[in-house]
């Protein structure tokens, strides 16, 4: 069973601490995105990294369009993985869409999780009456168009994104490999599920201690959205990082690590 899951989600385990930390990447990347964060936790934690099915080096054949037509399918995987690894009191770190996947997993089986850390979460990207998600249906259609136009070239060449990185060639090779494996049809489906979903009602049900890490300027998940998430999770703390973009763990890793450590103590 575990062997099957390891292949399905490309599970890798790092560090030699006695506490458990599970980090899950968001849309568009894979577990490589945690590379600046994990070294700082490996002494205290057993760090579990996964690729969501359909991303990175996960088993593409396991991508079931029905199962992954909502985030529930991914949340089921998280619970399954924690059960198989027999880990408890897990500190769950979810970036972007995986923050919501973490919420759903914690609602399915709260016993597994000790704390949730959300990086740039959004329960709903599309504006809706009084709710400001930041995007319209039209914007998401544009995104899908952008995906299409970038895959037009990608689908026929093996190395769509060539990384010029002379001093760390292994990094380039790894990423190239990783992105080659992102199937355009899956990426598009995942984009729809991610950006058209609505998980606002799930936030109110969450009781687990939660940290929300918010970039001061994030085009994907604005401060308003972060504030909304904070307001709807009873046991949550809201921290705004002085960072730009949607990936503070890449653009401001030190700030991110510091905020995480302060919360996990």
């Amino acid at each position: 069973m575990l062997k099957k899951l390891i292949a399905r989600n490309n599970i890798t385990i790092h560090g030699d601490g006695n506490k458990s930390m599970l980090l899950v990447h968001g849309y568009g990347c894979d577990q490589n995105m945690w590379r600046f964060i994990t070294p700082q936790f490996k002494d205290d934690y057993q760090i579990i990294l996964i690729d969501l099915v359909g991303s990175g080096k996960s088993d593409e054949n396991a991508y079931d369009y029905d199962k992954y037509s909502s985030l529930e399918g991914y949340a089921d995987d998280i619970v399954e993985i924690c059960d198989a690894l027999e880990v408890k009191d897990v500190s769950f770190v979810g970036h972007s869409v995986s923050a919501m996947i973490g919420v759903l997993a914690a609602l399915k089986n709260p016993a597994i999780f000790k704390k949730l850390i959300m990086i740039g979460p959004s329960p709903r990207y599309i504006n809706d009456d009084d709710y400001f998600g930041g995007f319209s249906q039209k914007d998401i259609d544009e995104l899908l168009e952008t995906l299409d136009s970038n895959y037009l070239g990608w689908s026929s060449t093996m190395a769509p994104v060539i990384m010029g990185n002379a001093d760390r060639p292994e990094l380039a090779e790894e990423l190239e490999h990783s992105f080659c494996q992102s199937n355009p049809a899956i990426a598009k489906h995942f984009a729809k599920v991610t950006f058209l979903g609505d998980n606002r009602s799930d936030l109110d049900k969450l009781t687990i201690e939660t940290l929300i890490l918010q970039c001061s300027s994030d085009a994907i998940a604005s401060i308003d959205v972060g504030q909304y998430v904070h307001n709807h999770i009873s046991n949550s703390k809201f921290v705004v990082l002085d960072a730009t973009g949607h990936c503070p763990h890449l653009s401001a890793p030190n700030q991110t690590i510091e905020a995480m450590k302060r919360y996990l103590v």
Partner: protein
């Protein structure tokens, strides 16, 4: 002529846009070409705009979730297609390459980007994209049609198998009918002809004793005729009764019953009848069939015994290749298989000028065995004896 390269001029007039941005995306320098592409004045862009300000909302998501992550992780990103928004709100498609510039300690100082206007190529690309979508749709359709074809071909195969089975059934029926016709023309007509002749004799005769003798013959022939007819009717019933029930049958018990039934004939013929069913003691089989098969074989062996020696008849079972075989051996008259082998099990075939021959028993036995999926074979030598080997069925 003196070719001095003015790098500033090259930077500004190159047929592609250059800009330099801080890690937070703020543009701190750009060449003239980029400003031409976007229709902005230099002072409107430099330190005023971020890269994402040139992108639509959908483009921004792609920028943050894909472009930025690749750039941050690998230090460079190439050939990403965005639509850049001009000052007047119109868009033009670009390909963008970006590379991070770092200081000696690896700190990200700024990002250099090159932007190519790909308006013409994009139109062609859109056509390709539309064609690709159409092809994908067609491919989906084909897969669907293929699926349907496969399932209907499966259905046809099933129907074919059903037809074959039906055909097989019909062939059997046909065989039965032709056998029946055979009986009508031989088994039944011969005695009837015989009766007619007897009748002629009877009518012509005036002697009372002769007439009494002829009448006795009438009775005997009519008796045989009736018996033959009854057995024929029985055999047709067997052939039609496909779903007869199987039950556990013990060979010893059936054999003892057979001996009891034929006790008179055994005593009369002084036959020595033995058996050994130790190899296969029992079988799942229609009990009445096994009784009938044993009765026919034993009575045949007694009937066709040799007058020159004490009849010895032995029944036993064997297991060969997971099949239970019943073997009946005698030291009787034997059959000339070269002469009669091909019609040994047909109807109305008698091979001995024997007063009791009716030619039905073996036919019925064969019919019963085959109805259960078995087969019957025979080895024989004239005046030595006969062995019947009956593969009852695969059982183990």
């Amino acid at each position: 002529m003196n070719h001095t390269i003015d790098y500033k001029e090259l930077y500004n007039t190159s047929p592609c846009g250059y800009f330099c941005s801080l890690p937070d995306g703020t543009i701190i320098d750009s060449n003239k070409r980029f400003l031409e592409f976007t229709n902005y004045e230099r002072e409107e862009v430099i330190e005023k705009k971020k890269v994402t300000d040139f992108l639509s909302a959908g483009g921004k998501i792609y920028f943050e979730t894909v472009y930025s992550q690749i750039l941050k992780l690998g230090g460079a990103v190439e050939e990403i297609n965005f639509d850049f928004v001009k000052k007047d709100g119109t868009k033009f498609p670009v390909l963008i390459n970006s590379v991070e510039i770092k200081d000696t300690e690896g700190r990200h100082l700024f990002t250099q980007s090159t932007v190519f206007n790909i308006s013409q190529r994009k139109e062609y690309e859109l056509e390709l994209l539309i064609a690709k979508r159409k092809a994908d749709d067609l491919s989906d359709e084909l897969i669907q049609v293929n699926k349907e074809l496969r399932s209907s071909s499966e259905l046809i195969l099933q129907q074919k198998l059903q037809l074959e089975e039906f055909n097989h059934h019909l062939k059997n029926k046909n065989k039965q009918l032709s056998n029946f016709a055979h009986i009508a023309s031989h088994n039944l007509r011969a005695p009837v002809t015989n009766l007619n002749s007897l009748l002629d004799f009877y009518n012509e005769s005036t002697d009372i004793e002769d007439r009494a003798m002829l009448f006795a013959k009438f009775e005997k022939v009519i008796g045989h005729l009736t018996e033959t007819l009854n057995e024929l009717i029985e055999s047709v019933k067997i052939q039609e009764n496909v779903n007869i029930t199987h039950e556990p049958v013990i060979f010893d018990i059936v054999f003892d019953k057979t001996i009891e039934t034929l006790e008179g004939q055994i005593l009369e013929s002084k036959a020595v009848v033995t058996s050994n069913f130790s190899e296969a003691t029992n079988i799942e089989y229609p009990k009445i069939y096994l009784e009938s098969i044993m009765l026919n074989l034993l009575s045949n062996s007694i009937r066709y015994r040799s007058p020159d020696r004490i009849p010895k008849i032995h029944f036993c079972t064997e297991i060969n290749n997971n099949e239970i075989t019943l073997i009946a051996t005698d030291n009787g008259l034997g059959i000339d298989l070269k002469k009669h082998g091909h019609r040994l099990f047909g109807l109305s075939n008698t091979f001995h000028r024997h007063p009791d021959s009716k030619g039905v028993g073996l036919f019925m036995t064969k019919t019963q065995i085959e109805a259960i999926g078995g087969s019957i074979g025979v080895e024989s030598e004239v005046d030595k004896g006969t062995t019947f080997k009956i593969i009852l069925k695969k059982n183990i």
